[in-house]
């Protein structure tokens, strides 16, 4: 599998999907109007990654996922849920998965957003408070 990297823009998230280091990261503002066009390649990548789940379990792989977002729209949030379902499925199959969901102090909406995804997809996450950034 190849690395999938998308540089962040002012209103679109930065994305890093690294199969060699088993590391996934989302950063910045995730506000695409056409969320499907943006997230479909990412979700397809994750499905392909999950096809290798058994071999990764045999290798003792630990998948680490970081969501370091400032804002997201509801269309992005729907895509995140799809990803969380994939992570949860891999975890149920036996893969070690850690999801860190970062939120800025006072941003209860971001904090709650992470908690709700965790509840719906039934996968534990780490909610990590970081100092406030602008805006």
């Amino acid at each position: 599998m190849d690395v999938l990297k998308i540089e962040p823009t002012r209103h679109k998230a930065g994305v890093l999907l690294d199969p060699d280091n088993h590391y996934i990261e989302f950063t910045g503002f995730s506000l695409p109007e056409d969320a499907m066009a943006f997230f479909l390649p990412i979700i397809n990548w994750l499905y392909e990654y999950s096809n290798h789940c058994k071999e990764y379990i045999a290798q003792g792989v630990h998948l680490k996922v970081n969501f370091k977002l400032s804002y997201y729209n509801s269309a992005s949030y729907r895509a995140f849920l799809e990803m969380f379902h994939i992570f949860a499925k891999m975890q149920r199959e036996g893969l070690k998965v850690t999801i860190n969901w970062y939120y800025e102090a006072m941003d209860s909406s971001m904090q709650e957003g992470g908690k709700d995804l965790s509840d719906i997809a039934k996968i534990d996450i780490n909610l990590i408070e970081i100092p406030e950034k602008h805006p």
């Binding site: 506000l31 969320a35 729209n73 729907r78 800025e104 006072m106 709700d116 805006p135």
Partner: protein, 190 residues
């Protein structure tokens, strides 16, 4: 064309846009680029306001959803109206109610049959408690197809949830087929 109806809509828009106490007052063709520019301006304006982080974040979040609702649901009018209201014409502004509260307003044209369904959708949201809205949001989220472009009213429910206040609306008639749909969202820290 019904000139009285146009005058009525224009008076409404001008009254709102000329309000001195606004932080954003925009009218034009809604597009991806327009949304981006509005959000950049909004970011700068909100940072200059002496408001809490929470209110700033909430205002930005609700603005994103409202602008994207405009983008997805705004329809262009027939050719006869294109010189006055070109393309996917919309308005977006945020008024300062007092030092701790904003009123965000959007306006766009919709087809007449949508008037009833939009009213019902908003009335339904207004009858729900915060907990009900949260459950409804989670339910739709979990059952909506990934390919949906924000349909199912998820964006509007999110706006109702984040606002925490009753949404208000009105429909100004343009002609028998088209109405100008105005949505008001109150934003406070709590």
């Amino acid at each position: 064309m019904n000139q009285t109806a146009i005058n009525n809509i224009e008076t409404f828009i001008r009254t709102k846009l000329e309000d001195k106490e606004h932080i954003i007052a925009w009218r034009g063709v809604i597009s991806s680029e327009a949304i981006s520019n509005i959000l950049i301006e909004l970011e700068e304006k909100l940072l200059k306001e002496k408001i809490s982080v929470k209110l700033r974040k909430k205002t930005y979040n609700i603005s994103v959803e409202c602008l994207q609702n405009l983008y997805h649901h705004c329809i262009p009018l027939p050719d006869a109206y294109q010189t006055i209201y070109p393309g996917k014409y919309a308005i977006f502004y945020i008024n300062l109610l007092n030092k701790d509260a904003y009123m965000l307003t959007t306006g766009n044209f919709i087809l007449q049959p949508k008037v009833k369904s939009m009213s019902q959708k908003i009335d339904k949201i207004n009858t729900l408690t915060q907990e009900d809205l949260k459950e409804m949001y989670k339910f739709i989220l979990n059952h909506q197809k990934l390919s949906a472009r924000g349909g199912g009213g998820l964006g509007l429910i999110d706006v109702g949830r984040k606002s925490g206040h009753k949404l208000t609306y009105e429909f100004l008639e343009l002609d028998k087929d088209y109405y100008f749909y105005v949505l008001n969202v109150k934003i406070t820290e709590e």
